[in-house]
């Protein structure tokens, strides 16, 4: 059964009825990230496909609001027409999942989806300034608003960004946006091993040139030669100047080369969307966040034990890993290695069977798990909304 409320009031009724009937609902936006997370234990689907449309756009105030089911493409086109964009460069999961459909702004919000620019501009959650949602009690609730700075009351905005729909059905979201810079330019270094590459990225990110993306693609990831990439976005004269300065700064790491813009654009899209690991489909894909300087050693430790492919984004702090889906797809080894390097791992792609057997999201310390369960109960006392999507029993 699929429910598609066309208004917040209808959503309240549907959820109130579901709660009375003790009938859990799986929340769906565009369906492009259905493979992300544990399978929700639900009999019916609650879809945002009839909750669409941009409700507010004030370019001079750098703010846009839209109903949750609005396609991302519509938002991006609307912003682009006024020379603006969402600063956090959300990843498109379709290539990785082989999914059809249109990503929605609600799905991006619910999963806190960011991309390479996260290293400079901040994550999805840093730009989300307001939400409206319907909680598991069938009540419409708002938090935040449409202004840039707002500390009024507890920040339920961030709490719902990345909650994967376990706390409420998002009905409307409001983002701050930024002007699109005049141009982007990408500098590439070649032939560095992982540790040395991350050292170069750290040096660049510690420079005053405002690097907007920093990635390392080891040998075999899209090319025979390892490539270390740095992007700068700004007015044209600044990009030229800053890339030259960066090249000087990174001279000890080799002679850098400025890539042709079209080629660089496609490369950053591939990095953002994890296209390198799209095929073969039967391999599991992990996303690991750790401190950049500990990333290469972390990968090395794991690589000694198994067949893995990897690349780095966020200056080395985001590791994408592809491993065969055998046994626990490396879950125990990855998390054991993280215990010493710090950070967290999420299984982004895996079969439904694998996702039901292992912790998809990083297991939480007992007090934090208790708080998480308490918050879930505070929003959704009868566990009607996406139950079990993030953690078993929550």
């Amino acid at each position: 059964m699929i429910f598609s409320p066309a208004s917040e009031a209808e959503a309240c009724t549907i959820i109130t009825d579901a709660r009375a009937a003790k009938r859990p609902l799986a929340i769906e936006g565009g369906g492009t990230r259905a493979g992300l997370g544990r399978a929700a234990q639900a009999e019916a689907t609650l879809s945002t496909k009839a909750l669409t449309g941009i409700t507010l756009y004030e370019p001079a105030e750098l703010v846009i609001a839209a109903k949750a089911g609005t396609p991302l493409a519509e938002i991006e086109a609307t912003l682009a027409a006024r020379g603006q964009r969402l600063p956090f460069e959300p990843m498109d999961h379709r290539a990785l999942f082989g999914a059809q459909g249109e990503p929605t702004i609600g799905g991006i919000t619910a999963c806190n989806i960011s991309g390479p620019r996260r290293i400079q501009a901040g994550a999805c959650r840093d730009h989300l300034i307001g939400v409206r949602l319907v909680n598991g009690r069938g009540e419409a609730v708002k938090s935040g608003g449409r202004v840039m700075k707002n500390v009024t009351g507890l920040d339920l905005v961030k709490l719902n960004c990345g909650a994967h729909g376990t706390l409420g059905l998002l009905t409307e979201v409001t983002y701050k946006v930024l002007p699109k810079p005049e141009i982007a330019g990408t500098l590439a270094l070649f032939g560095l091993d992982d540790a040395r590459a991350i050292e170069a990225l750290s040096r660049a990110l510690g420079s005053p040139y405002e690097v907007s993306a920093a990635a390392h693609l080891p040998a075999g990831i899209g090319s025979e030669k390892p490539r270390t990439l740095l992007r700068i976005e700004n007015f044209a004269h600044s990009v030229d100047y800053r890339l030259r300065e960066l090249q000087k700064l990174l001279a000890p790491f080799g002679e850098g080369l400025r890539l042709i813009e079209d080629e660089a654009h496609a490369l950053w899209r591939d990095i953002r969307d994890c296209r390198f690991f799209a095929e073969p489909r039967d391999r599991a894909v992990w996303r690991i966040s750790t401190a950049p300087t500990r990333a290469a050693a972390f990968v090395e430790r794991l690589a000694a034990q198994r067949d893995l492919r990897c690349y780095y984004d966020w200056g080395g702090g985001l590791i994408w890993l592809s491993v065969p889906e055998v046994d626990d797809a490396g879950a125990r080894a990855i998390r054991a290695a993280l215990a010493s390097s710090g950070g967290h791992a999420t299984l982004v792609r895996g079969s439904p069977d694998l996702r039901s057997r292992i912790d998809v999201f990083q297991p939480l310390a007992a007090p934090l798990l208790k708080i998480t369960a308490g918050i879930k109960a505070g929003f959704d006392p009868d566990a009607i909304l996406n139950p079990g999507r993030m953690y078993a029993g929550i």
Binding site: V141, G153, D155, C161, Q362, P367, L368
Partner: protein
Amino acid sequence: MTAIAFPDLDRSILSRRDEIIAGLSALLPRECLVTSDDERRAFETDALTAYRKLPLAVALPRTTEEAAAVMRYCFEHGVKVVARGAGTSLSGGAIPQEDAIVICVAKMTRILSVDYANRAMRVESGVTNLGITEAVMADGFFYAPDPSSQLACTIAGNIGMNSGGAHCLKYGVTTNNVLGVRLVLVDGTIVEIGGDHLDSPGLDLLGLMIGSEGQLGIVTEATVRILRSAEGARPVLFGFPTSEEAGACVADIIGNAIIPVAIEFMDKLAIEICESFAHAGYPLDVGALLIVEVEGSDAEMETQLAKIVEIAKKHGVMTVRESQSAMEAAAIWKGRKSAFGATGRIADYICMDGTVPTGQLSRVLQGTDEIVKSYGLRVANVFHAGDGNMHPLILYNVNDPEEQRKAEQAGEDILRLCVEVGGCLTGEHGVGIEKRELMNCQFTPEDLAQQMRVRAVFDKAWLLNPAKVFPLEGRIAA
């Protein structure tokens, strides 16, 4: 009798004061527990000085473990706890009550690690905001949020209030610049959230914690993000005939895809007050002033400034003055950052902190003026124009109860106006006691009940900073 009500005191706690002090004495060395009247007096208020309440005692833990021991004791004995950093809250966030213990992190001031390669720094939460930047400045790094009180205020307080500052137009506020915290829960449990990596797993408890005004726990350590300073920074003064023209210029700069690091606004009265204090060379013949700061190499700053000057000319700019030296730049910022202190020299004031959509700035400035005049008072406006975070300073005499009542009433009217035009009650100072009873005009009962159910997960018994944030009527515990 002052206007803001406090919750009823717990008489049983007051009657057990000696016993509680004895209990705390067993947990802390003598120099870490303040019990005498004279010394407690230093903790009776914060920067909302019209309200004063003497706490039962003040604990000054030196470690997370000591803070946890005090929390556990208070939890087991039903004693309320008010967290305190440096006591610079403008909303009364650190004002205690007679039946509450203050836990102040002022003794926890160690910088634990500086990690340039990962651009992260670990500090104890009593470190001042400026202290963080000072520790890394020589190496060309800084911590971005820069509230005006940065010389005194602690990172603990910044986290409690999600503080902003003049430069958050580009760099964001506290919540965008903190990577992790060590937190003591109400029962003394110590937890770590986040770390020196990006994004914490599970629900965004770090985001929930930041700005929670001491309602959910006490932060004893923090990992903050540090950034490399720009090659150069230059503040420029733009004088306009009227506030309207200055406001329109702000919208036009942003509309032209230029995001300066900061755009600060001052009206005529604010200019006079700040200039007589800081001698920053502010023009006195203008109706409104913008301080616009740009960053980058010399050539980059010049290019960007030329574009801004061109825009300002379209809005009738009367004066453009670039800082010619680092000293002049410092003087320009000193004038702005001492606005509150300088105002305090000529009158008592209350500082409002509503944020409005930037397109509504002119309307709200005019409305503010009318409201304050209708009470027969004066107002100085100095605020972060780029993000619409207004700071009207309503001048009054604290020794005149009638004037205080009028000033508070005017402040309330202004905040209602902010909400009415699509804004909010507070952009960076927090709700505290000051705006607590106005929460109902921004939020529905369902909105507030949802927040309180989240709060209850951390503190069912309302022991943590209980006089703050939520209206006293209609509180729920689960």
